[in-house]
Amino acid sequence: MTLLFGHLIDLLLAVSLTVLAWRLLATSDLFKATVLFIAFGLLMALAWVRLDAPDLALAEAVIGAGITGVLLLTALRHLDSGARVARMSGRSGRRSLRVLLPALGIMPALLVLLCLSSPHIRSTAGLTASVIERLDQIGTDHPVTAVLLDFRAYDTLLETAVLLLAVVAVWSLHPVRPIFSPEPISPAQRGLLRLLLPVLIMTSLYLFWRGSHAPGGAFQAGALLAAGLLLLLLSEQRLPGRWSGMFLRLLLAGGFMIFLLVAAGALVGTGTLLDYPGGGASWLLLSIEAALSLSIAALLATAVIGGRPSDRSTEFPPRRKDPAGEEG
């Protein structure tokens, strides 16, 4: 009975994910597509929960649905209203529909097959056994953290580099512009901020601490911290100009730099890149994770702000002067 319900929920999730994905790709209204994307992210997080991957579910819920959603919505604000509705002739729309319909028909059949065979898939657990076998050689008890920071540390190192590069690319496009509307913010929003910010910081620290033995870790903690920073931004909080110079840049690059330093140190010490001395001491992994969390939080929040800080006398992001004077 429980198994049947499980399959039913899986099927429902898979079908709604497919339909949502198609709808968000097919719509010509960018705002609608963004909202659908956020809904898609939330359902995707549920799908990860169903697949017994709480680490990914946490990351998907915070980054995929939350922060990417805000990122897309603020990017949408910068577009002029003409560009918001992408030009899409009715004909090409209909043609894509004709291609998609058979695909949509095949999908459920495939999904049913997958669902029926899913116990079989779960029984062949891939690399789990060999990871758990080697867990005692590493300074962490949680297999996912071990994989992320040790077994495939090279990938994680390059992922942080990609995040850093993304912000560098955003900064090279244009100087920062005021991002939110000039209307005074509601006192209720300030109250919410006062209530949620401590909770967010605490949850972030908790996830960070948990990362060494249970689902959680640097990425999730950093993303939650970024959510807190975004709440601050939405409530008109600013980084003072004198902090938006070297301090901000160090914060952004810190995670990658420290990771790279450890990797290079391992190269000098043991002769292999990222081969931690002593199989990865826990304090080493912990310091990488701490730097990564802070950097990821700063990187995600700066990506949402979009645009490099202009000079040290203005705050980052700058305040909107008055509705008429900000056109330039």
Partner: protein, 100 residues
């Protein structure tokens, strides 16, 4: 044991009805303000009932506290977001719907 499960089932069914009503309201109501009204009922009462139903099943007190905390956070943020959306709609000059 049976009583516990039965109470959970009843509470979950009640929650489902609130969610359904909220959904119908969201789809059918004429303007933003009415839709927000329908949505908050689903969020606050529906989720509250789900939380109570699960607290009955929780095997430790910290599990129960976590559920209560979840409800509380959704209540606070849901109420604030509804207020912000309604405020923005009013600023944009949308007038509340009236049945003439």
């Amino acid at each position: 044991m049976f009583l516990r499960d039965a109470t959970t089932c009843l509470l979950l069914l009640a929650a489902a009805s609130f969610f359904l009503a909220g959904l119908v309201g969201l789809l059918r109501f004429p303007d933003v303000f009415c839709r927000l009204h329908a949505l908050t009922k689903a969020d606050n009462l529906g989720l509250g009932l789900v939380c109570i139903a699960l607290i009955i099943q929780a095997d430790s007190w910290h599990g129960a506290v976590r559920l209560l905390l979840t409800w509380f956070l959704v209540l606070v943020s849901g109420a604030t977001v509804a207020h912000l959306i309604a405020r923005k709609a009013l600023q944009q000059g949308q007038t509340p719907w009236r049945n003439r």
